[in-house]
């Protein structure tokens, strides 16, 4: 490992060193008149963005043990740091002054975790980076406000997160046992899963490993049935940090899932296909129906976050370069969507923060009634983000959904399950329509309903900037999505070195012949 190789990790080192500096700056807070923690954290992230830009796209550099710097790293650096800067803006004034240093440092550590997850090329490194994403979030929730509920949701999240980490580690150890290697790049050949090369099916050990890893990561991305914590945690944490919770663990979880799917060469048994299919369908439906009956906006957005996980799982199931047409890359669609989702979700929570009056947090629909009259610009920002979450033009959310479902529809007939995937996409489209109902309720409550308790909003400027950037970005990305989309597309290049698709590989070759590949019966 040379110094030259280390410079390739410039953004990561900047975040690491920056986080340490922020900790020190924060410790001196009591004696300072100006609070430096938030500005320093923002500068650190901006410097890391600059470093990302200067370094350019890495071309599959493996000179650092355990890491593999690919275009995926580059893409994830951009979206993580970009949205990370917005997260810092949203949290500018959030915790009390004495804790702000720790708070900002934790945000930086969590972002660092995401960046390293994108580069991880080793199962153990992957586990550590995922935990590096998660552990700071437990602290962040507890610090975010001085409230028993925040502490409660932090503890809940911590215990359940610890359990999911244990499940993930257990699964990774199974995979190591089956493959005999921890290097993700070579796990595939270790397993000889590429059935079309060796004809050997996936072993049960590897399969159990896969299932446990999927379960552990399903917790991170908040997929049903491992979503149970979401509403409580979102409700307990302060709004601005909730905006981050919807994006950072989800992104890390999906990157890890992509890596594991790629390690299996996107070739998994039929039963696993149906498992992901069912999880995706149930996640969308449960998320949307539960969101529909909420009166608390934060809980509503929490369940909507579950629903969006379901949409992203559709794209994951499609996989890279399956089918034909320009929208054929499901993984690119997923990466595109997650960036848009992160921005619009953060924007919605930033709007809730901006509406805050004094110390009273804005949470229920009654709290936001008629706010358009009091804060017209913030209301407009929230409306744009809500329309984007709904997937309406002219917002980027529309293009995100178009790409995700388009990737499913462009799956060619050669794919053994293309009908099932299209059916899943149709379920997704129906779910988007259901989702529109509760997002519209937020918008109509702001604009139409009379205000109950008029008062002047008392939030700071940075959170308004965050909201402004998020909502304007949603409009601009609608008009000009090609840059983000083509970056997402090139990020998947390293993930499909071989032509990829789900093969109906079964444990028993005879059993595979029994079932028609186009079978819709989810019992298999």
């Amino acid at each position: 490992m040379t110094l030259d190789a280390l410079t390739q990790l410039g953004p990561e080192f900047m975040l690491l060193i920056g986080a340490c500096i922020v900790l020190i700056v924060g410790a001196t807070a009591a004696s300072q008149r100006v609070q430096w923690a938030s500005p320093v954290a923002l500068v650190v992230v901006l410097l890391a963005i600059l470093a990302t830009w200067r370094l350019g796209v890495p071309e599959g550099d493996t000179s650092i043990p355990g890491l593999w710097l690919t275009p995926l790293t580059y893409y994830v650096r951009w979206i993580t740091l970009g949205i990370g800067a917005l997260v810092i803006l949203a949290n500018w004034h959030q915790p009390s002054e004495s804790e702000r240093g720790e708070y900002m440092a934790m945000i930086l550590f969590s972002l660092l975790g995401v960046l390293l997850t994108a580069s991880a090329n080793d199962l153990v490194v992957l586990f550590f980076t995922i935990e590096l994403v998660s552990i700071p979030t437990y602290v962040l929730i507890a610090l975010s406000r001085q409230d028993a509920r925040a502490a409660e949701s932090s503890v809940k999240y911590f215990f359940l997160g610890a359990m999911s980490a244990a499940i993930l580690a257990y699964g990774l150890s199974f995979l190591y046992g089956a493959a005999g290697t921890t290097t993700i790049q070579t796990v595939g050949s270790g397993l000889s899963v590429a059935g079309h090369v060796t004809g050997a099916p996936v072993s049960s050990t590897a399969l159990v490993g896969w299932l446990l890893i999927f379960a552990g990561l399903a917790f991170k991305v908040a997929a049903v049935p491992l979503h149970v914590y979401v509403a409580d945690v979102y409700e307990g944490a302060a709004s601005p940090i909730t905006g981050m919770l919807g994006f950072v663990p989800k992104l890390a979880g999906f990157i890890a899932l992509i890596k594991i799917f790629a390690a299996f060469d996107w070739t998994l048994p039929q039963s696993v296909f149906w498992l992901v299919w069912i999880v995706a369908a149930v996640t969308m439906t449960v998320g949307n129906t539960l969101a529909l009956i909420q009166r608390n906006v934060k809980r509503m957005l929490a369940y909507s976050s579950v629903a969006h996980t379901g949409y992203m799982l559709v794209a994951l199931l499609v996989g890279p370069v399956a089918g034909e047409g320009p929208m054929r890359d499901g993984v690119a669609a997923l990466l595109f969507y997650v960036a848009i989702y992160g921005t619009m979700n953060l924007g919605a929570f930033a709007a809730l923060t901006a509406f805050k009056t004094g110390q009273r947090a804005v949470e229920t629909l009654d709290d936001i009634a008629g706010l358009a009259a009091r804060a017209p610009i913030a209301a407009l920002g929230l409306a744009v983000c809500a329309f984007s979450l709904m997937g309406f033009p002219p917002t980027a959310g529309f293009l995100g959904k178009l790409y995700v479902f388009g990737s499913a529809f462009s799956l060619g007939e050669s794919h053994p399950f293309h009908q099932a995937v299209i059916a899943l996409a149709i379920i997704g489209v129906i779910n988007s329509a259901i989702g529109a109902a509760y997002y519209l309720r937020i918008v109509s409550t702001i604009y139409v309903r009379a205000e109950d308790a008029p008062a002047a909003p008392a939030s700071g400027r940075p959170v308004r900037w965050c909201l402004a950037v998020c909502s304007i970005a949603m409009l601009i990305l609608f008009a000009w999505p090609s840059q983000l989309a083509s970056q997402a597309r090139s990020a998947t290049v390293a993930l499909h070195a071989t032509p990829t698709r789900y093969h109906a590989v079964s444990e028993d070759p005879d059993a595979a012949n029994d079932t028609s590949p186009d079978d819709f019966d989810p019992g298999h």
Partner: protein, 659 residues
């Protein structure tokens, strides 16, 4: 065209789009706090820049002497992944685009300038001043996008965006129930048209596999679909009729005309710009642009011509009995749009666009003049409540008369030439439709001057408590400019016909080539070269005479012998009632469509309240019951979550391994 020309054109296109957009954003964002009573400046400058861009495009297009006069300019790939571009933002610039851009940005600029004074009360900006200018500039952006777009997707986006701006501006005084209802009506009626339009575009995509104008039109002319199969007559007729459905909505043609008169609830500059000069002509523009599609189906062309002529006559009869100046003008707009649609329907697209061009001047002039009257009368616009304003509003009166003469087709003013051409072509194609056009011309002259005489002639009558005064210079200046246009614009279509020559390349392969009347004329080429005096000028003299007769009749009936209208009304009460109530179309729609829909809505609300809520309660009862069940087994929530997670994973592992 040289590469430099293309670059200039592209740059101008971008300026035309971005300048008004920037103006809209600035007026909206800085208006409330910073600019306040200066919020009109971003809009004026933005639209002014767009107008400058349109002028440059026009001069560039005029300078093209050889080669193609059509430029397709890709701006950027909108949705592209890898090297595949799905949809592109691209401009199509040809003489038609150029003329439309000039008309749109020119009238817009004048209207924005006019609005500076109109939207003030005693030099204090009205409530929502900056909102008004932001929407107006946004409208200019949308309309230019509609005109500039090089594919059907951009056309559709622009189409919807102008509809949105129209909705926002009709409902500008949203505190007034009538304005809110009118905005809703415009929105819903347009939705009907746009639904057909959207289906048409979808069908184009399904049939040809592309939405780019050039590619689609070429395939249509070759009679092929996107996959190389033969294009059936039924398919192309369906596409054309669906597109026509959109045109009927946007251009207020029968049977979707009902929204336009109500749209007069918006401020007068909006009526002048959106509901007279520009947006409502989008339908005519679209048919002219899609000439290849329409001319491929003789059936569709006949339908277009019939709808146009019937609408023209129908709306003119309604205008005879209305008393609200703006509504009279609205029906006359519908009628004139009918002429334009008739024009394209009889293969005279260049004449239709010419009428569109002249109409933009004189109708905008009339609406702005009516706005000036309304401003002076403190918001009252019913001609029964005032009269004899000639001396109080001298300049408004003079310009208004010029506009009225042009609208009435008085000889040698702009409306005379353009209308005459359309009637000429209509007579050649379908004599009945031509005669309907002539009758409409007579009625037009009559109702226009009925309005003029009622408002301006006779003894002075003004509503009580109104301090009537002539408008200020910001309002009068646009009136003067438009008057010059109303007088002179028509001369571009005579004496060598520079206007038609300029447009000729656009319609060369569509309307001109497909015109059956032209084929007939080719046989009599010798005769055509030396037409007799009557063949050449007969129609002109006839329509000029009709116009003068109409004006004279209005003078006799409303100035000299003003007891006659009352007598006529008493003699034919049914006819009057039918005209006055607009043939009861609103009532028919209300009884036939709106009420049933509303009742269905009530039923749905009832279902929602009892059935759906009950179902939702049931649906949530199951998880709730499950929750209680789980809770009884668990001492705390957290363990419950953990246990359910582990149990779920265990079930899944067992299922996958042993399934």
């Amino acid at each position: 065209m040289t590469p430099e020309t293309l670059d200039t054109l592209k740059l101008c296109g971008i300026v035309i789009l971005l300048a008004p957009l920037a103006g809209a954003i600035l007026a909206g964002a800085l208006g409330p706090r910073l600019l306040r009573s200066h919020a009109h400046w971003p809009a004026i400058l933005g639209v002014g820049a767009a107008f400058a861009g349109a002028v440059v495009i026009f001069t560039q297009m005029r300078g093209v002497t050889e080669g193609a006069t059509t430029a397709l300019l890709p701006v950027y790939d909108w949705i592209s992944i890898g090297t595949n571009s799905i949809f592109r933002v691209e401009f199509l610039i040809d003489p038609l685009t150029s003329v439309m851009l000039l008309t749109v940005t020119g009238v817009s600029l004048l209207v924005v300038i006019y609005s500076r004074d109109y939207m003030r009360e005693h030099d204090h900006p009205e409530r929502g001043y900056e909102r008004f200018f932001a929407f107006l500039a946004l409208f200019v952006f949308s309309m230019c996008a509609l005109v500039l777009g090089g594919n059907f997707l951009l056309l559709y986006l622009g189409w919807e965006a102008v509809g949105l701006c129209s909705y926002l501006l009709i409902g500008f005084y949203y505190g007034r129930p009538a304005a809110a209802a009118a905005a809703k009506k415009a929105f819903l009626v347009n939705r009907v048209g746009d639904f057909g339009f959207g289906l048409g575009i979808f069908l184009i995509y399904l049939t040809f596999g592309t939405l780019e104008y050039g590619a689609v039109f070429e395939l249509v002319q070759q009679g092929l679909t996107g996959t190389g199969q033969a294009l059936s007559d039924g398919r192309i007729t369906t596409i054309a009729l669906l597109l026509l459905c959109g045109a009927c909505g946007k251009s207020a043609q029968l049977p979707l005309h009902v929204w336009l008169p109500d749209a007069m609830e918006g401020p007068s500059p909006v009526s002048a710009l959106i509901h007279a000069a520009t947006m409502v002509t989008a339908g005519v523009y679209m048919i002219a642009r899609c000439g290849a599609i329409f001319t491929a189906s003789a059936t569709a062309m006949t339908v277009v011509a019939v709808i146009g002529s019937v609408t023209a006559l129908f709306a003119a009869t309604i205008a005879l009995t209305q008393t609200d100046m703006k509504r009279i003008l609205a029906y006359s707009t519908i009628s004139q749009l009918g002429y334009m649609v008739l024009g394209v329907g009889v293969y005279a697209a260049d004449s239709a666009v010419f009428h569109l061009f002249t109409h933009a001047f004189f109708k905008a002039l009339l609406f702005l003049g009516a706005g000036s009257v309304m401003h002076a009368m403190g918001g009252i616009i019913d001609v029964r409540q005032f009269g004899g304003l000639k001396r109080i509003l001298p300049w408004t009166f003079r310009t208004f008369v010029i506009g009225s003469l042009a609208l009435a087709g008085f000889p040698l003013l702009s409306g005379f030439f353009s209308k005459d051409e359309i009637i000429h072509h209509a007579l050649q194609a379908h004599p009945i439709l031509g005669i309907m056009g002539l009758v409409t011309a007579l009625l037009t002259a009559f109702y226009t001057f009925r309005m003029v005489f009622l408002a301006f002639a006779g003894p002075e009558r003004i509503p009580e408590g109104v301090h009537a005064h002539e408008s200020g210079k910001w309002m009068l200046a646009p009136l003067f400019v438009l008057s010059i246009g109303a007088i002179g614009a028509g001369y571009l279509g005579v004496a060598g016909k520079p206007f038609h020559t300029f447009l000729a390349p656009v319609f060369e392969h569509t309307f001109t080539a497909a015109n059956p009347a032209a084929h007939g004329a080719a046989h009599g080429a010798a005769e055509a070269a030396h037409p007799s005096f009557w063949a050449h000028y007969g129609l002109m003299i006839l329509s000029g005479a009709l116009s003068i007769i109409g004006i004279a009749a209005a003078y006799v009936l409303y100035v000299q012998q003003n007891w006659i209208p009352g007598l006529v009304k008493a003699t034919f009460p049914r006819v009057h009632k039918m005209f006055h109530n607009k043939y009861f179309v609103d009532e028919i729609y209300d009884a036939g469509l709106v009420s049933p829909a509303r009742n269905a809505g009530r039923v749905c609300v009832g279902l929602d309240d009892y059935l759906i809520d009950g179902l939702v309660w049931l649906a949530t009862a199951i998880p709730r019951a499950f929750g209680y069940l789980v809770r009884t087994f668990q001492s705390g929530l957290l363990q419950g979550y953990g246990l359910s997670m582990v149990a779920g994973i265990a079930v899944v592992v067992v299922w996958v391994l042993w399934a």
